[in-house]
């Protein structure tokens, strides 16, 4: 199954999505009241703009309910956050110009043959016994 690639999102868009994940579905007014409690019509337009961007990125879908548009997240929280973390971590990992992460394994694009070879090596190679010289740790 091909893994879905999500478009990159901003902090403000993520805040709107957090609210949608929490509520399930919401109108623009609901989101405005939750994110900008003191907000007026200008904040209503801000939320509307953020939602239209999220719809364009296919992260939110909307439906008409009588007079209002109802918005709902079309992506699971863990999928989106995990995908974003992975994307940023790749740029901060060992192969980047600006490494900041210390990873357990440097993940390279290993082929299936290479992985099979490593598994076979692990299965066949016995654990070598320590000699009479006991190294200090």
């Amino acid at each position: 199954m091909k893994k879905r690639q999500f478009a990159s999102i901003t902090a403000a868009e993520l805040r709107v999505l957090e609210e949608l994940w929490q509520r399930g579905e919401a109108t623009i007014r609901d989101l405005r009241d939750a994110i900008y409690p003191q907000g007026g019509s200008s904040k209503f337009a801000t939320v509307q703009k953020l939602l239209s961007r999220l719809v364009a990125k296919d992260l939110v879908h909307r439906r008409k309910d009588e007079a209002n548009w109802i918005f709902q997240a079309s992506v699971a929280r863990d999928d989106l956050i995990g995908g974003e973390l992975r994307r940023v971590a790749d740029r901060l990992g060992g192969n980047s110009m600006t490494p900041l992460l210390t990873c357990l394994v440097e993940i390279g694009e290993l082929t299936s043959q290479e992985r099979a070879h490593l598994r076979k090596l692990l299965d066949e190679k016995p654990v070598a016994k320590r000699g009479p010289q006991s190294p200090s740790s």
Partner: protein, 379 residues
């Protein structure tokens, strides 16, 4: 151009240290010593030289090539070099460093913002990590977080204490032995301060964005870190060697699951080879941590001695343009006994002196005698 001289000197001495580190890592196979040397290579790159070691002979040729020799033959070039080139270089360097630094800062800020959406790791992992941290005498235990997504377990520097990020989906797939090995590996990283070395690496990467060897130094540094951590884990959990090696492959499969129909891909030979060597080292109990303190102290002591040193070049002395084309021809002059050298004629006091000023040049210049340091080439 004192700053340019410092940079060239630092890069040359860092290359010298890097050669030593490479030799210790791959020939003598002492990852702990090699790690210290690689760190010193990075430190050397950002340390201003405190003690200058003058170089004779070759700087003259280098100075002539760069047009900073003071020879009349290269005078037209010298003015351009002295007036324009340093500023162009400095501006390019600063712009590149600013872009690299800004990119890193933006990515880091984004990563930190995403970390805010993670949750604390399950209590059993927290308690296991706490007991292992106390065994390792870690003064500032890390914050253990469980993150969504398919990432390798990792350690990042935090504001007050480091953070260990563990993928939530992986935690349920590990047995007790693998869990301990995973936590131990990351805790050893924290105890060694490897997450702080990343900050140094970042600083050098931003400052020396134009130096390709910085990336290679970082890779060697991380290879040494992983080897040292692997050794510490198998020394602490000698019965779990196979489980630990299995864990590395499990993490690999977790992060990049194979597609159902495997398609031949571009082969990352270095990654496969590196991982194979790592697995073999983990399984090989005869490869303990060899401590030869004399060799280690001598190597690291020598490296520390190089740190404050700098190489001084013949960049000093602003050149003076010459008007007479007849005087630009090189002349052969005898310099004591031995071979005759072809030298670039040096401006005499009369030529160097402005029309109205008095000369303050050394007597050799006043008499029109060439100086040894002004020789640009030998015949």
């Amino acid at each position: 151009m004192p700053w340019l001289s410092c940079v060239v000197s630092n890069v040359l001495l860092a290359l010298l240290l890097a050669l030593a580190a490479w030799f210790v890592q791959w020939r003598i196979r002492r990852p702990a010593i090699a790690h210290v040397l690689w760190v010193l290579v990075l430190v050397k790159l950002v340390t201003p030289p405190l003690v200058n070691v003058p170089l004779h002979g070759s700087p003259g040729i280098m100075a002539c090539t760069l047009g900073t020799c003071g020879c009349r033959q290269h005078a037209p070039r010298q003015t351009l070099v002295y007036d324009t080139l340093p500023w162009v270089l400095l501006a390019t360097w600063s712009a590149g460093a600013a872009v690299t630094g800004w990119t890193a800062w933006r990515r880091w800020r984004r990563f930190r913002r995403l970390i805010a959406h993670t949750s604390p790791a399950p209590p059993e992992w927290q308690s296991l990590a706490a007991s292992l941290a106390s065994e390792l005498s870690i003064r500032c235990p890390p914050e253990i977080l469980a993150m969504p997504g398919r990432l390798s377990p990792l350690v990042v520097p935090g504001r007050y204490r480091p953070r260990m990020l563990l993928p939530m989906a992986l935690l349920g797939q590990l047995n007790a032995s693998q869990s301990a090995a995973l936590l131990l590996h990351e805790l050893v990283h924290i105890k060694r301060g490897d997450h702080l070395v990343r900050m140094l690496e970042l600083t050098v990467g931003v400052a020396y964005w134009w130096l390709p060897i910085v990336g290679s130094i970082g890779r060697q540094l991380r290879a040494c870190e992983e080897t040292c951590c692997d050794m510490a884990v198998v020394a602490h959990l000698p019965q779990s060697r196979r489980d630990y090696a299995q864990l590395l492959l499990d993490v690999l499969d977790f992060v990049n699951p194979l597609p159902e129909q495997a398609v031949p891909q571009a082969t990352a030979m270095s990654a496969a080879k590196g991982l194979e060597q790592r697995l073999l080292a983990i399984l090989d109990a005869t490869q303990g941590t060899r401590h030869t303190w004399t060799a280690g102290v001598c190597t690291v002591g020598l490296a520390f001695a190089i740190l404050p040193c700098g190489l001084r070049y013949d960049f000093a002395g602003r050149p003076t343009p010459v008007t007479s084309s007849a005087e630009r021809e090189p002349a052969a002059v005898p310099i004591g006994p031995g071979p005759r050298l072809a030298v670039c004629p040096v401006a005499t006091s009369a030529e160097l002196e402005p029309a109205t000023g008095a000369t303050h040049l050394p007597s050799s210049d006043r008499e029109g005698e060439p100086r040894v340091k002004d020789f640009c080439c030998s015949s």
